[in-house]
């Protein structure tokens, strides 16, 4: 991982969030509002992708921030990046809500083609941007179908079995395709 100078914007953002979460853990409402101010756009992006509808995504956001309120104490700044912790919590909470509502997505996944997408856009994304953009750029280097499946797994919480059903492909094929794609992704990310 590239080492960051302590005063880079990303590192300061992380520091600010770590401190705000520590204050949330001591039931400080203003601190939760600060966490909200710093993260609501990003976390709303996750909810919106998972639910598709603004109203549902906003309902999920309420649950997400209440969960943050209750669980902030379990975030350990020594062991992780607060943004990752919040994004993972949001994704898991949103997927739980979706499932509890019996709305597990079952729509067929259209797998377009098998050709790697070497568009210059992906290259442009890779150059000169932060870690966030990097995975977005790297996923573009996979075949469109593989990229779709990995995105679907992340945003909809689908298991291998779900993916097999929704793509109408054998489980074994799905598994080996995704595993190959993950190795390729790792090479690009490392």
């Amino acid at each position: 991982m590239p080492s960051e100078s302590p005063n880079s914007p990303a590192s300061l953002e992380r520091a600010a969030l770590s401190v705000a979460l520590a204050r949330v853990a001591s039931q400080d409402r203003a601190a939760l509002q600060e966490v909200y101010r710093r993260t609501s756009r990003k976390l709303f992006g996750i909810c919106l992708r998972i639910f598709g509808e603004r109203a549902d995504a906003e309902d999920a956001m309420q649950e997400v921030y209440l969960t943050i309120w209750h669980r902030a104490g379990s975030f350990d700044p020594a062991r992780g990046n607060p943004i990752t912790w919040l994004a993972t919590l949001t994704r898991n909470r949103a997927i739980d809500i979706l499932r509890a509502a019996g709305r597990r997505p079952t729509a067929p996944i259209e797998l377009a083609d098998n050709v790697a997408d070497e568009s210059p856009d992906a290259e442009a994304v890779l150059i000169g941007q932060g870690d966030d953009a990097r995975v977005v750029g790297c996923i573009e280097t996979l075949s469109k179908s593989d990229a779709t499946m990995i995105r679907t797994a992340f945003f909809e919480g689908t298991t291998y079995a779900d993916l097999a059903t929704r793509t109408a492909m054998p489980l074994g094929t799905i598994k080996s395709r995704i595993r190959r794609a993950l190795l390729k992704l790792r090479e690009c990310l490392s």
């Binding site: 401190v19 700044p77 020594a78 298991t159």
Partner: protein
């Protein structure tokens, strides 16, 4: 870590494999847990903002669902216990007047933040809210050994470090600065952590090594 192990970590991070054994391994095997965290961090990057913002009322809806401040629950107890005792009622009345606003200010002052680090891997974060003079310190990695970690501030335009006291090296802590200290702590000031004997340096100057430092920046 073999490729198979690493793939299992990635599958767990994505939730692809409904595998209790892998989940258990995450708890027991630190090297594996680190890989799951690595993948989680990468995948979290997929969640780049879509450019759409939640509606402006959303925060108020969340705030309305937070548990009431403990102070108001305490107040209720005060009123019950105080009964007819005039003196106690007066205190309760005073507390009622002092009762914290449930409504949050629409835009809280963004605190200034410092991210401190040093060559040996020590790291901590400090935030400071000028309007309340409240400083919060979150140690990320800080090992004071058998002694204590002491926090110093070097004000803007000065080369002299002033002690802000010994800090808790293990967990986040909050400190209320007095007005004299608050005058030293402003954007551009530098914080430093030194390792001192138990109870801190007795001389008013740091004696032990500086293990982390960083500048306070407005956010």
């Amino acid at each position: 870590m073999t490729d198979d192990d690493d793939l299992l970590a990635a599958e767990l991070a994505l939730g692809l494999a409904d595998d209790p054994a892998a989940a258990a391994r995450r708890v027991q095997d630190p090297a594996f847990a680190e890989r799951v965290a690595w993948w989680e961090e990468r995948f979290a990057g997929l969640a780049a903002p879509l450019g759409e913002e939640p509606s402006p009322q959303l925060w108020n809806r969340i705030a309305a669902r937070l548990p009431q401040n403990d102070n108001s629950g305490g107040l209720l107890r005060w009123k019950v216990i105080s009964g007819g005792l005039a003196a106690v009622s007066a205190i309760a009345l005073f507390m009622l007047v002092q009762r914290p606003q449930i409504e949050l200010p629409p835009q809280p002052g963004a605190p200034a933040v410092a991210s401190l680090s040093g060559e040996k891997g020590s790291a901590l974060a400090i935030s400071y809210d000028n309007s309340t003079r409240r400083m919060t310190i979150a140690p990320v990695q800080l090992d004071p050994g058998k002694g204590d970690a002491e926090l110093w501030v070097i004000p803007v335009g000065s080369s002299r470090a002033v002690s802000l006291g010994v800090i808790d090296a293990r967990k986040p802590s909050s400190h209320q600065l007095n007005p004299a200290q608050a005058r030293l702590v402003a954007a551009g000031a530098t914080f430093a952590i030194s390792l001192e004997q138990r109870g801190g340096s007795p001389t008013g100057q740091h004696l032990g090594p500086i293990v982390a430092s960083g500048k306070l920046v407005e956010t």
